[in-house]
């Protein structure tokens, strides 16, 4: 596939993520911060985000495994995940966090477990899409480098 076609494919792919509500405008802001002096910025941010999100989701899982859940601890983790999601433009994941926040506020363990399932779902979807996005990005960079 040629460079122009790849770029179009990437653009359309990101657009579909906007339309599905998976991403919001904040992601465009991040893309806009990538330039020739920082050619891997999007990849770096996505990588940081995924590592962080997985760490937090694991911690929340662990927390909810205890008989007596430490809800204030849980609160702190949800806050972190919601913040990261917001910063990268992960819209649906951010909304899923609000669900967990609500259940945690109500000290509703069952509600928290359900909300966590949704978060895990949304995160897995997002990660899959990010992987596809990065694959496209790398192909583009490779082609551009070869053309120089």
């Amino acid at each position: 596939m040629d460079l122009a076609a790849l770029k179009t494919q990437l653009k359309n792919f990101v657009q579909s993520m906007f339309e599905e509500g998976v991403l919001d405008n904040q992601f465009s802001q991040i893309q806009a911060l990538q330039d020739s002096t920082n050619p891997n910025f999007v990849e770096e941010v996505i990588t940081l985000f995924c590592n962080d999100a997985e760490r937090i989701i694991n911690e929340i899982n662990r927390n909810l495994g205890y008989q007596n859940v430490d809800f204030s601890n849980l609160d702190s983790y949800v806050h972190q995940l919601k913040g990261s999601s917001s910063s990268i433009g992960a819209n649906r994941l951010k909304l899923a966090c609000a669900n967990l926040r609500q259940a945690s506020d109500e000290r509703n363990k069952e509600g928290c477990l359900q909300a966590l399932q949704l978060i895990t779902c949304e995160y897995c979807l997002l990660r899959r899409k990010f992987q596809a996005l990065l694959h496209l990005e790398r192909s583009i960079v490779e082609l551009e480098t070869n053309q120089k």
């Binding site: 904040q26 802001q29 991040i30 806009a32 911060l33 920082n38 910025f41 770096e44 941010v45 940081l48 985000f49 962080d52 702190s76 806050h79 972190q80 919601k82 913040g83 990261s84 917001s86 910063s87 990268i88 433009g89």
Partner: protein, 185 residues
């Protein structure tokens, strides 16, 4: 040598404080895109450390009375270092919600410090809580940005920095003579 104001007049140095790795990366990129020099740290205590302010130093004038076994003793040489380090930072931008020292706590400490109280402080938060915002602004924060911070927010920083710079130039002579007196020479 005295106090050398070693400052590149074309570049401002911003100290960014945020416990979130992603947010640190973002704010750093935003600031650099706007041609600021950036130092990013992950806590309020690291910020104070960078400025040369010991965690327990609430007010430089009280330093000599505040010594206890836990506090590093502050000599008059270190007092000079505080000033020199502090002059390197033109603005502090900090997250509000951080474990340990919050951005608000950091704001208070900065404003209590005779060396650094004139450095503009900007607070960022993911939560839109009017009482929180008002409290920060009333207690000395120049601006309050809602996260995620945008380039348009960062563009609002320059006027605060320009204001600070002209004040620095005016007060530099006064600061020199004050230090000479307090260092006990």
């Amino acid at each position: 040598m005295g106090m050398a104001i070693d400052r590149d007049d074309t570049q401002f140095h911003v100290l960014a404080v945020d416990d979130s790795l992603i947010d640190r990366k973002l704010i750093e990129r935003l600031l650099k895109t706007s041609s600021f020099q950036v130092t990013a740290v992950d806590s309020g205590s690291k910020a104070l450390e960078f400025l040369g302010l010991n965690n327990n130093d609430a007010d430089d004038d009280e330093e000599y009375e505040q010594r206890d076994s836990n506090t590093e003793s502050v000599s008059s040489d270190e007092d000079q270092d505080h000033q020199d380090l502090g002059l390197g930072v033109n603005l502090i931008i900090t997250d509000y919600c951080m474990p340990g020292m919050t951005g608000y706590d950091l704001l208070k400490k900065i404003k209590k410090s005779s060396s650094f109280k004139d450095i503009p402080v900007v607070i960022m938060s993911s939560e839109n809580i009017p009482s929180r915002i008002n409290r920060c602004l009333e207690d000395g924060a120049e601006e309050f940005f809602l996260k995620p911070v945008q380039l348009s927010d960062v563009n609002k920083l320059r006027p605060h920095l320009m204001k600070g710079r002209s004040k620095d130039i005016d007060s530099s002579h006064k600061t020199t003579s004050t230090r000479l007196i307090s260092s006990g020479d």
